[in-house]
Symmetry: C2
Subunit: 92 residues, 2 copies
């Protein structure tokens, strides 16, 4: 039927918390704790939302001791997000 993966991808991006997380790690990988501190969103909420972002492969992590450093999976995703930001900026 309709492209399920695209829906999931858009859905994952269509949430304020998740977009804030994405912004937060857009240019450098960060631990869950750091994301939580910088965004002022609870650790639990961050973890829950990171799982959703992981599931659609928007983010991945690298282990570093007991930390997990999350980053945006690839540049294509970044480009798409950038395009949307550009688009909404243009429109006014």
């Amino acid at each position: 039927m309709n492209n399920k993966k695209s829906v999931s991808l858009f859905k994952a991006l269509g949430d304020s918390t998740r977009l804030r997380i994405i912004d937060c790690i857009f240019y450098e990988a960060k631990s869950v704790n750091k994301i939580s501190l910088e965004t002022n969103i609870s650790q639990s909420a961050i973890s829950h939302q990171l799982k959703i972002l992981r599931d659609v492969d928007i983010v991945r992590f690298e282990k570093r001791g007991k930390e997990r450093n999350y980053y945006i999976s690839d540049n294509h995703i970044k480009m798409i997000i950038d395009q949307v930001y550009e688009h909404v900026d243009e429109c006014r």
Copy 2:
């Protein structure tokens, strides 16, 4: 705060029904009825969802008699959607 407009845009795209509507009118404007017939989604549901797409300016319409011919607002939006389709196709 976080870019509300981007969230709304992604959210609007993150629904199966709405993406089917978008696919349906991607290359040519169509009336609500035609969209309803081609997608096999009720007229009411189409109307409700078109409102959401209108609100974030993903679609617009042109009156043509008693019909309203809906189309994708601009090419930037189309490009973004295309990019996502491309992206999910690549990933497998």
